[in-house]
Symmetry: none
Subunit: 92 residues, 4 copies
DNA sequence: TGGCGTATCTTCTTCC
DNA sequence: GGAAGAAGATACGCCA
């Protein structure tokens, strides 16, 4: 890109301002979310657990099982779980 | 803690779903922003430079406040403003 | 605080420099940690799972069970787990 | 993925423990920093202002690079430097 | 003086 | 792989 004529400069300005408006909206929503958490907390709910629930609901079941399986594998390697006996593939 | 009666369970569910809706909105806006960048790029503008511009315009505002804050800090350090709490004379 | 005599100014400078040195050390160690993760990844291990393991090992068993229990409570409230039958205390 | 043979399990364990040791060191240094702030506070200095000073001293270096980067960005926008990729004439 | 809310700082993830 | 943004952890200051 080299330099802009007046028309392009105006065009650029419009893009920039649209983005700034959208970012403003995004920020507002982020604040709304915080408020809901605060309200839930005031009602006696635990925010951290709520976040965990929301995260879980986002993930699909297959991924969830895969993750859990992987974690168990590592736990077993670290001696945090009893060994299993049935031979399987070895990796790494 | 034990478990929730039906009313509380319902209440929790409503909080969770409100947050999920808000996060959905936030995500939509984030995508809108990306689209504007894409459109601007299609028109021949450079996204990285636009980001720089936006950052600068944000800074300009933030810096006004920052400057003012810093000025006060140093004024206080120079004894040109009253201390936050008690103590007024040379210390340390 | 008001203003500093030469001695105090020198004293302040020493505090600042001690902190800057310590922060430098901290940064170095943070980089070392990143390197170990990178090396582990190169050997075929998954960094995310490793982080989970490390986090789990940090928490004591009692807290872990409490957290899991709380999470189950919320899951049940959200219908993500089958209900249990034995009556207990109700909260919230 | 399946599970690890003894050798790999041992390898994983070593990575984990190296990281845990490093994190322990990092934590120690963080505590040292807090102590220095506490000591400074005990001597009559204000921690918040000290943090501001440290941030400024960091910025001074970062800003040199930032300024240079920004200058290039604008030079490029003004056609005073070759573009990163192709296109050289007035566009948009 | 201990809990609560805020604010900063760091960490983690995503996008380029 | 490096930067930008979101998320999470931590630390400070206030109020009761």
């Amino acid at each position: 890109m080299a330099f802009f004529d007046g028309l392009s400069a105006e065009h650029l300005k419009q893009f920039i301002e649209r983005i700034e408006r959208l970012e403003e909206e995004k920020k507002t929503i982020a604040e709304d979310i915080k408020e809901v958490f605060a309200e839930a907390k005031g009602t006696g709910f635990d925010a951290a657990t709520m976040r965990t629930i929301i995260k879980l609901r986002k993930k699909d079941q297959a991924d969830l099982e895969e993750e859990e399986y992987l974690l168990d594998t590592y736990k077993r390697a670290m001696g945090m779980l009893p060994e299993i006996s049935g031979e399987d593939e070895k990796v790494a």
